[in-house]
């Protein structure tokens, strides 16, 4: 390998690793003008701009969405988005449900999410007239609190009531 080629490859490698470190530090070069935008695109495509704070600094309870399906006679059935078919699919479903937490200040978006998921429930349960959406998580007490007698519980983060539309789909 020639000196020039070595120097060129080393420079490219150093710049790439610089972007890796910047990504880890949550620095986005988008605002740095055209070069910054090009670097952002490169970081996104190469994965160099990703962060690494998995389960850090804290571990939250896993989110869960419960759907109470109500038919014309008032009979109730509870269903979930998770299918239990594969763990990987259910993990992805959890990430999807977690959007309700991440977008907790955007009520309009959360209502749209509820309507979209309720539409899935109406498709699964053709007899359903109403879907009650309850997104939250099971709260496990801290170890010391559990030893002191505290019990696990459920904490709702978002609730919605979606009625079947007489024309198409569902409305929140």
């Amino acid at each position: 390998m020639t000196r020039l080629r070595s120097a060129l490859l080393l420079t490219v490698a150093a710049c790439h690793l610089g972007l890796v470190v910047a990504g880890g530090l949550d620095v986005c070069p988008w605002e740095w003008g055209p070069v910054g935008r090009a670097l952002t695109y490169y970081s996104a495509i190469s994965g160099a701009g990703g962060g690494y704070s998995f389960y850090a600094p804290t571990v939250r309870s896993a989110p869960h969405a419960a759907f109470t399906i109500v038919d014309r006679e008032g009979r109730r059935v509870v269903d979930t988005l998770q299918t239990g078919v594969t763990r990987e699919a259910d993990l992805r479903m959890q990430d999807l449900i977690d959007v309700v937490h991440h977008r907790r200040t955007d009520d309009a978006l959360r209502r749209r999410l509820a309507a979209s998921w309720a539409a899935e429930m109406f498709a699964r349960h053709p007899e359903a007239e109403l879907v009650l959406v309850d997104v939250g998580h099971s709260r496990m007490p801290a170890m010391a609190a559990l030893r002191a007698g505290a019990a696990p519980g459920w904490r709702s983060e978002f609730r919605a009531r979606v009625a079947r539309s007489p024309v198409a789909g569902a409305r929140p």
């Binding site: 690494y52 389960y55 600094p57 988005l81 594969t86 999410l113």
Partner: protein, 308 residues
């Protein structure tokens, strides 16, 4: 010093670590694809769990959302299903070809591109494994991953001649992994939960993660504290102890044990498999040229005793 650094970065390296990474990553991603298949259209179709424009509401704000291509190209629901299924089959086919090393460069490119397409289409369902898979598929585009343990090698389409550029690429991949573990460990250590054991407790017992009943752990909190600190030591110590020969095997074993635990007890099987593949292939598989390789590279120096 300069000569040592040059050897560390540019001494010719064999392709075995890349081949091991190619095989391990392809196998793990195939397992993932098969597990996602039952919910494929629910996740990626505009008529799935996020209907219509809601599907594209979570794309990064400064990058073009790929999902908007469907309505732009006037693709209706049935056509979108067909396009997605064809892309899904191509992705699985690319991974199978990667696994056996058939036309490795082209199929790695196809696997990386389609992986990027799917993670861009449904960013709200991604998690850590997708980030690492995307990063290392991208690296494999530039690596001689088909130069060993492959049909390409058997057919004479690829040569496993040790290359200086292979060493540099291997170093970049290794340093990237070190950065990832270091940042992950430091971020964990910045909160109390990993130091007082609560993070371990929550990971093992909260609904969704817990595959087993670990409520007994509340009676032996010291065990949770020890486990939490072990994770911090393994992750923060990774960039220090994975390089020297004396500690490398111990650290590989510790990382494998940590991720095996995550896979078994938290149910993150694919994530665990990918992370184990990364450490084992990049640090556990020797990149030193064999004797027959060296006869062809008489004048080239070895990489030194610090690392593979």
């Amino acid at each position: 010093m300069r000569a040592q650094l040059e050897r560390f970065l540019l001494a010719p390296a064999a392709a075995r670590p890349f081949a091991a990474l190619r095989i391990g990553l392809a196998a793990a991603l195939l397992g993932q694809a098969l597990q996602v298949a039952p919910m494929f259209l629910a996740f990626y179709h505009h008529g799935g769990l996020l209907r219509g424009s809601l599907m594209d509401a979570f794309a990064p704000t400064h990058l073009p959302p790929l999902g908007r291509l469907a309505p732009t190209l006037a693709i209706d629901g049935a056509m979108e299903s067909l396009v997605l299924i064809v892309c899904g089959l191509l992705y699985v086919g690319s991974l199978v070809s990667m696994l056996v090393g058939w036309r490795t460069r082209a199929v790695t490119c196809s696997a990386w591109l389609l992986h990027w397409v799917f993670t861009s289409l449904a960013p709200h369902t991604n998690y850590g494994v997708d980030a690492f898979a995307s990063v290392y598929l991208f690296y494999l585009l530039w690596a001689p991953a088909g130069a060993a343990l492959s049909l390409d090698r058997r057919a004479g389409r690829a040569s496993d001649r040790p290359r200086e550029s292979s060493r540099l690429l291997l170093r970049v991949m290794q340093v990237h992994l070190c950065v990832a573990y270091l940042f992950s460990g430091v971020e964990k250590a910045s909160g109390e939960q990993w130091r007082d054991g609560e993070a371990i407790w929550r990971s093992l017992t909260t609904q969704g993660y817990g595959a087993f009943d670990f409520t007994w752990l509340a009676q032996v909190p010291l065990l949770a504290v020890l486990a939490g600190w072990s994770v911090l030591v393994v992750e923060i110590g990774y960039p220090l102890f994975i390089w020297p020969r004396r500690t490398r095997r111990l650290w590989i074993a510790a990382v494998v044990a940590m991720h095996a635990g995550i896979g078994i007890f938290m149910g993150l099987h694919v994530f665990a498999a990918v992370m184990i593949v990364l450490t084992v292939s990049l640090f556990g598989v020797s990149a030193e040229p064999e004797e027959r390789d060296q006869s062809a590279q008489q004048s080239t120096p070895r990489a030194g005793s610090l690392a593979t």
